[in-house]
Symmetry: C2
Subunit: 164 residues, 2 copies
């Protein structure tokens, strides 16, 4: 089995085998939930899969729409509850600058991560850059502030869109 320690959160080639990403994410999620004795129910699992369908953040109502197209038509709370579960277990991240959700590249791990958001193609990449974290920690400490969490969302152009 693949270890859920760390996955590539960066920008991938356009034609990478994306089925692998979904499968791997699911495998990790099953492992993480198994270890913790929490339940990856069908709704939760399906929401996770839908989020992993692409490397671009998806809004709650977009997820809802996908589910609706599958005969299963849940109301908003169902989706938000599944998202909350996935957030709690560290399987997805919420991007507040987009009001959207994206798969976590280090499933099950705590920590906030930093995100690169391409304004052209909508793709997101996750960093877990200790330099950025240190800089933030230092900047905060200089003000006498104790960090609990952070939101770092960088918008710009990804390597693919930069050229065009």
């Amino acid at each position: 089995m693949n270890s859920p320690q760390e996955r590539n959160g960066g920008f991938l080639p356009d034609q990478h085998d994306h089925g692998d990403c979904v499968a791997a994410a699911l495998e990790d999620a099953i492992a993480v939930c198994g270890e913790r004795g929490v339940r990856l129910t069908p709704v939760r699992r399906r929401v996770l899969e839908i989020i992993w369908q692409g490397h671009r953040p998806l809004g709650a109502y977009a997820i809802l729409e996908v589910l609706s197209g599958e005969g299963h038509s849940p109301a908003p709370p169902t989706v938000y509850r599944a998202l909350e579960f996935l957030l709690t277990q560290g399987l997805v991240h919420r991007l507040s600058s987009l009001n959207a959700f994206v798969g976590c590249s280090r499933p099950g791990h705590p920590g906030a991560g930093q995100f690169l958001l391409c304004t052209s193609c909508g793709t997101a990449a996750e960093l877990n850059d200790p330099e950025i974290e240190r800089a933030i920690e230092r900047g905060a400490a200089a003000e006498g502030f104790v960090c609990r969490d952070h939101t770092v969302e960088i918008s710009g152009l990804c390597p693919h869109c930069r050229g065009t």
Copy 2:
């Protein structure tokens, strides 16, 4: 006149003379708008003052409520338009993790800034830390990403609340 180059964005003592903050912010805003030939109309000016009433971020509808209590009862678009103007002129910032707005400590200057948000008292402080910016720039460049803008919002405990 005070130069609008840079103000203290950090955490201030509880009992600082807050009237000064509002007055100074307003003075800066008038100067900035004057230089640029844009109009700080009564609505815009009043919204800016309301935001500066405290060092804590305020939601659009909270601003609306204050205005309503003053006899003047505008609809949401009026407030959002004023906010958009103030954002464009670099007089306020939007905090996407809170859906709220806060005064800018470097009125009129471009750039995103970083924010320390106390989860206990709701106070916000602004950093403009070159180290953090460099770290972000480097982290992004390592992925081949070109930064345009960034959102850095750090939640935790401010110096005052840390003790209690």
